[in-house]
């Protein structure tokens, strides 16, 4: 039996994959605890989870796209959250004495604290943005991010000479994506492409009897973070769907008050139990967050992807190039082009066939079960390796 401490940001798309892995570890008889914002984590993890709270620091809602969004993600969220949580994460490690620390790629504090205590740590990548390296052609952007990470490291009291990129554990990187979503990048052996670690999540109610089995069923979801820009997109989706009423039923995930008079072929619901709904769907219209893309593909459901920011353009491009979906511009696509895109993925069977191939890749990647196996191995061997590395440095 080993003990694993998960360091996660207060973001649903990052907690859900971690939860899938934590459940697999618990099934194998291990102990799991969490550190992060209890306010955000508790509803997702349930009453029984052990949470070492870091407190909650309000961060500004997301805005912008492209590089402006990258800048705002790091300077308004990742860096301040890392600084704010440092003392609490350190205390959690001291109190829990984990064998392995599992560190989300966007909570760099976990890496610094694990290093400080000589513990093996694994990276959990819930986004494709760091692995796909979209900014490799922009050296000053990559250098800017390295500077932020190095400053966090040295501000945590660690020597600059020891710096290791907090986004990539030298021991184990668990990437919640399959090869097809990461392009032709090559990775070292300790980067494991596990695909989506799907979790048993506390169920939300959805009456499957509302689904119309005589029409094609399309889910429209822009994820949990896009409220600032979703309204304009939803209006265009509704106009795109209206002429398809005789053959398409849509489930639009949005606050019902935001869509006061939906067309009769559109159900508006504030949230859905994705994993329960997906087996009954013919297509998903999404912003391209890795969670939604993974879950749709894990069920062989093709997508229309309208990426907004972060890794979404990467995911959209990879889904399109794998033939499992159509990419449209979130900001600019009009109702006619959206209708064409939706009709295309519904009517051309090649999209569903390609999505089924990716489903098979996801099954083969192994998800949470395989992730748990890698973490168990790290717990067995990792502490030896870390102390060997420390001895090595002492001798050098």
């Amino acid at each position: 039996m080993s003990r694993f401490l998960f360091v996660v940001p207060p973001l649903v798309g990052h907690v859900n994959p971690a939860l899938g892995i934590a459940q697999a570890l618990a099934r194998n008889g291990h102990e799991v605890a969490w550190t992060g914002s209890e306010l955000s984590l508790r509803p997702l993890l349930g009453a029984d989870a052990t949470v070492f709270p870091t407190g909650t620091r309000l961060h500004r809602p997301q805005a912008d796209c492209g590089l402006a969004a990258l800048k705002s993600l790091w300077t308004r969220f990742v860096v301040p959250f890392a600084r704010f949580t440092l003392p609490a994460v350190d205390k959690a490690v001291v109190a829990y004495e984990p064998d392995v620390v599992v560190v989300d790629q966007h909570t760099p504090t976990g890496a610094a604290v694990a290093h400080r205590h000589g513990l093996p740590w694994a990276t959990l990548a819930c986004s494709t943005i760091e692995l796909a390296r979209p900014y490799r052609g922009l050296p000053k952007v990559e250098a800017w991010m390295r500077d932020l990470l190095l400053t966090l490291w040295t501000d945590a009291g660690l020597p600059e000479a020891d710096w290791h990129d907090q986004r990539f554990s030298p021991h184990l990187v668990l990437a919640c994506a399959i090869r097809e979503l990461l392009g032709d990048n090559t990775f070292p052996d300790h980067v494991k492409l596990i695909g989506p670690p799907l979790a048993d999540r506390p169920g939300r109610d959805f009456d499957l009897g509302l689904l119309d089995l005589n029409r094609r069923r399309v889910l429209v979801s822009t994820g949990t973070l896009a409220d600032d820009v979703a309204d304009g997109f939803h209006a265009r989706v509704l106009r795109a769907l209206e002429p398809l009423a005789d053959r398409v039923q849509a489930i639009l995930v949005a606050p019902p008050e935001a869509v006061p008079a939906p067309p009769p072929n559109v159900l508006v619901v504030p949230s859905v139990p994705m994993l329960r709904l997906l087996p009954h769907l013919d297509a998903v219209v999404s912003h391209g967050g890795l969670g939604t893309v993974n879950e749709a593909l894990a069920h062989g459901v093709p997508l229309v992807v309208a990426p907004i920011r972060h890794d979404q353009p990467i995911n959209a491009a990879r889904v399109a190039s794998a033939g499992a979906g159509v990419r449209v511009s979130f900001a600019r696509v009009g109702p006619d082009a959206l209708r064409d895109a939706i009709s295309t993925v519904l009517d051309d069977p090649s999209y569903r066939a390609a999505a089924a191939r990716l489903r098979d890749s996801i099954t083969a990647a192994g998800g949470a079960t395989v992730a748990a196996r890698h973490l168990e191995r790290l717990a067995r061997n990792g502490s030896d390796r870390v102390s060997a590395a420390v001895r090595q440095r002492g001798n050098g």
Partner: protein, 100 residues
């Protein structure tokens, strides 16, 4: 961005050519294209995506020759320079690279 002074004039013919390439690259409507101005930011205002920038870079090279190297130009910019990159900056860059 830093090396495009406010007083610097934008060559109108070059601007029209490059605005046409932006329209071709994005496949947008003429109505959208009417919003292209020298001050429009490629990312924040025109919502250009990185794949579209790659395509634009190829069109620029085909039209103006190898000295117009958009990937090399953007590789020299820092984060704020890239966020603030405007159509006018692009026009000035092409003008510099094709001068004499």
């Amino acid at each position: 961005m830093a090396d495009s002074c406010p007083g610097e004039s934008t060559d109108p013919r070059l601007f029209t050519d490059i605005a046409g390439m932006l329209l071709d690259t994005t496949g947008e409507s003429a109505e959208w294209a009417s919003g292209i101005s020298p001050n429009a930011r490629l990312e924040g205002d025109l919502r250009m995506e990185s794949v579209e920038l790659v395509a634009l870079g190829e069109s620029l090279r085909d039209r103006y020759g190898d000295r117009v190297d958009l990937p090399a130009f953007v590789a020299g910019l820092d984060l704020d320079g890239l966020i603030g990159l405007t159509v006018g900056d692009l026009v000035s860059y092409v003008a510099r690279q094709t001068a004499a």
